[in-house]
Symmetry: C2
Subunit: 95 residues, 2 copies
DNA sequence: GCTGATTTACGGCATTGCCGTATAGTCGCA
DNA sequence: TGCGACTATACGGCAATGCCGTAAATCAGC
């Protein structure tokens, strides 16, 4: 198991504990798309991801920190990126 | 020339007049994506378009009426749809 | 002329988009 | 060990959008 996996598990545990305490502080337990996971799947930094898909960095940050929930159109875009990151990128470059 | 063309020309003229009068009422002269055009290229109604691409109808309406400017993530989605409507749809169905 | 479907037009509130900046963690290097 | 560069987290804050609802207008077919 890789070290990132551990981080993921810890995050999950932290959420579980927060949930048990009735403390929603860290974020919604069951929520929208996991932007961080989608981005990490592309192996890009927040900055690179933002540029690649033409989204303001600040917005990506808000999503990853669960400060803001991506709205409907944004969720569609994210699911497209998740489904086929490369295809979306090339489509974007050509456009 | 088709009748729709006339409508387009009229809209253009109306904008030009508004612009000359310094009256921005009707909308930005040079503006964001022409959502209506993008949708019509798919030959779908607002309702069908909304469902197909998982965007709330109300949002599509606001865009077409120039009441709201699609934000950055939405613009990306729209340009993807414009670039390859079919590809995006199938990607969405599979997701 | 009437009817159903599509679109336009608006009111309105909660929520997000987006920017800026300060703090913290990581890594390689002198 | 300490510095600089890079990446990510945290958060303040305002303008603007997302999204819903509904009434009026326009359109297509009977």
């Amino acid at each position: 198991m890789k070290s990132e996996d551990f981080d993921g598990i810890m995050a999950g545990l932290t959420d579980a504990v927060a949930y048990a305490k009735g403390d929603a502080m860290r974020g919604r337990i069951v929520a929208g798309p996991d932007v961080k996971a989608i981005r990490q799947a592309t192996k890009l930094t927040q900055g690179a991801f933002a540029k690649a898909y033409r989204i303001p960095v600040g917005t990506v940050r808000d999503w990853e920190q669960n400060r803001r929930q991506p709205d409907a159109p944004a969720r569609v875009l994210l699911s497209l990126i998740k489904a086929d990151p490369a295809a979306i990128q090339s489509l974007l470059d050509k456009a």
